[in-house]
């Protein structure tokens, strides 16, 4: 429903005679571990990427006065008008549970302007997040990104391993109430807001897995993982890297996973 309404709004905007000039803008993401680039099948000094996929929504650009929404351009694979899937794994090497297709860029339109600063939500908006995944349109039709027993999508799947450790994080809403396809509320929404004040169009965003895996490495269990459960002992440290207080579910904008690439 929300999808259809948003599509309609977008079409109207696009055809209105008085609409301001539109600028097409792409934002690219690159996986790194500290300063090293990451790719499936590539051995780095630190270890190996095993997974990195995430949903982005509510993208806004700052023009000095206002936050202007970037209207995502729908395609039939990676972008709906209100959410895009960024997939930085290609199913090769240690990413064997992944998929061949990749998408490192979101694309949208904003009124022409002088922008500096961006905010992006890692997550799926509430209504589509809890709708029937088998009836969903791309990019919400990917069963590897859905969490059927929790109801809702994995907003982020991230995994990294070394010869002695293997850690992964699945981020999504938890503590939800109601019934599947009739969820009323989630006590732990677990959406991450990425705000980068120095961003200018054309900048690439680095997704730095060292932040998450240094947090996991503090745990004694060499295979510690977090699937966003409110009671999971290995979640607080990686959640802190996402700017989420695991105990309360409250969030701030101090996430460290995504930063401007150097």
């Amino acid at each position: 429903m929300i999808g259809r309404r948003t599509v309609l709004a977008f079409l109207l905007l696009g055809t209105a005679g008085c609409a301001p000039e539109q600028l097409e803008l792409s934002v690219s993401f690159a996986p790194v571990y500290g300063s090293e680039p990451l790719a499936c099948g590539a051995e780095t000094d630190a270890g190996r990427l095993t997974d990195l996929r995430f949903y982005v929504s509510d993208v806004r650009l700052f023009d000095g006065e206002r936050a202007v929404e970037l209207q995502l351009v729908a395609d039939d694979r990676w972008q709906a008008p209100y959410v895009a899937l960024i997939d930085l794994e290609d199913g090769t090497g240690a990413c064997q549970n992944g998929t061949p297709g990749t998408n490192d860029t979101l694309t949208g339109r904003v009124p022409a302007g002088d922008y500096r600063g961006i905010s992006i939500v890692l997550g799926v908006p509430f209504e589509p997040n809890h709708a029937d995944p088998l009836s969903a349109m791309p990019p919400l039709d990917d069963s590897a990104m859905h969490w059927h027993w929790r109801s809702g999508y994995k907003f982020l799947r991230a995994g990294f391993e070394t010869d002695t450790r293997n850690h992964w994080l699945h981020l999504g809403s938890a503590g939800c109430e109601g019934r599947v396809q009739a969820i009323t509320h989630c006590r732990f929404p677990n959406r991450v807001t990425v705000t980068l004040q120095d961003y200018v169009p054309g900048d690439t965003l680095a997704v730095d897995l060292a932040t998450l895996f240094d947090a996991f490495a503090a745990a004694p269990d060499p295979t510690a993982s977090c699937s966003s459960g409110p009671a999971e002992a290995s979640c607080p440290e990686p959640f802190a890297m996402l700017g989420i207080d695991h105990a309360s579910g409250s969030r701030d904008e101090r996430q460290r996973l995504v930063r401007l690439a150097e």
């Binding site: 088998l134 859905h146 059927h148 027993w149 503590g175 939800c176 993982s225």
Partner: protein
């Protein structure tokens, strides 16, 4: 029956209207239930039909629904064990051990909530997605392999031919959605009330022994309290049906653990607490149906009670004492324990009677009915 069609067009229209009404009310499907037992609730977007159930049956037994062709739904849900697998904890297609044991599917059509501890899941259609696609743990391991399922549905002659009949309004019926609907319809069709106890209730005084009759009285007594959580027509307080007016659902901490005296359960199996993080939900699991309980050992969500006698011991004591190891603690004193699990005295004769009653809940038809057997 009808030998002449004087007004064929009108007749066909009338038939169409009747069929549409039947489909809408879902009563074109014969559940083969004894009189006076309730009809299961059926989601309005997935009405029952024989052809849909037939597709679901083949899919339920089809190992091609797993990433390595090793595992079908039926791998962990074996008919002769009332659709459980006899393991303490089920094992997925890649060998990963699930934290919990497979639940019986007999009469799961009447479950108001599904699985051991999940308040969100109330439809078999939604539940089926977790074993097929879940990756933590991997059960059938099909996450991201939706295309393989569609290919299977399109290339297998039985599926390709019958999906169109089961879902005639779909332009492209070979979809994961329809596969899941068919599996859910098949599982929903596994309803049976033909145990000796049921026949006793229906007026055959000799259907269960005198001992089992005494056991029945014990089961429904305020001394033993069993029926508070395992009551009703399906022996669980989480039951519903087509005409239900109340959302009946119950989760209980029965004192199986009390790690360190703090009320804790093993961290991979904390019950509702895993979903909510609320301390009061620690160790709360759904009371499963006791139908066919004698053939579904081992018991409890993690299979840590091996026999029915172990289960009776557990409730006689009012909680399990674990004396050493990482899970040490006396479950009898679990601060979150249900007030109905208080312990009671039970003589040897009474124990035998109670066990005889529980054994009278075994429904031989459910365990043998050819409608639910492997069609391959």
């Amino acid at each position: 029956m009808i030998r002449r069609l004087l007004l064929p067009a009108t007749f066909i229209v009338a038939i169409g209207v009747v069929l549409a009404l039947l489909a809408a009310r879902d009563d074109g499907y014969d559940w083969k239930l004894p009189a006076a037992y309730p009809v299961p609730a059926v989601p309005s977007d997935n009405p029952m039909s024989d052809v849909k159930v037939a597709i679901g049956r083949r899919l339920f037994y089809d190992t091609r629904l797993s990433l390595n062709d090793s595992t079908a739904c039926a791998t962990c849900h074996v008919q002769s064990r009332a659709f459980t697998d006899g393991r303490p904890r089920s094992v997925g297609a890649t060998g990963e051990v699930h934290p919990r044991g497979a639940m019986s599917l007999v009469n799961s059509a009447y479950a108001s909530r599904l699985t051991w501890a999940n308040t969100l899941l109330d439809k078999l259609e939604d539940q089926a997605l977790t074993p097929i696609f879940g990756d933590n743990p991997v059960e059938m391991g099909m996450a991201g392999r939706d295309g393989d399922i569609v290919d299977l549905l399109s290339s297998d002659p039985f599926y390709a031919e019958n999906l169109g009949k089961a879902f005639p309004r779909d332009e492209d019926p070979a979809s994961v959605l329809n596969a899941v609907r068919a599996i859910a319809a098949f599982v929903r069709s596994i309803v049976s009330f033909d145990s000796p106890y049921d026949r006793y209730l229906r007026g055959d005084p000799d259907a269960i022994s005198v001992s089992a009759q005494r056991g029945m009285d014990l089961f429904f007594s305020e001394r033993l309290e069993c029926f508070h959580c395992h009551g009703g027509f399906n022996f669980t307080d989480s039951s519903t049906h087509e005409s239900a007016t109340v959302d009946s659902v119950g989760y209980h901490n029965n004192g199986l653990y009390n790690i360190g005296g703090e009320g804790d359960y093993p961290s991979d199996n904390t019950g509702l607490y895993d979903m909510t993080g609320l301390a009061s939900d620690m160790g709360r699991f759904k009371a499963p149906s006791l139908r066919n309980i004698a053939v579904t050992a081992p018991y409890m969500h993690d299979g840590t009670l091996a026999t029915l006698d172990d289960v009776i011991d557990h409730y006689v004591r009012g909680g399990r004492a674990i004396t050493d190891g990482p899970y040490a603690g006396d479950g009898r004193h679990n601060p979150y324990k249900s007030t109905f699990v208080r312990g009671f005295e039970l003589s040897d004769v009474e124990r035998g009677d109670l066990r005889a009653f529980l054994e009278s809940l075994t429904d031989a038809r459910a365990l043998n009915d050819a409608r639910w057997s492997n069609p391959w």
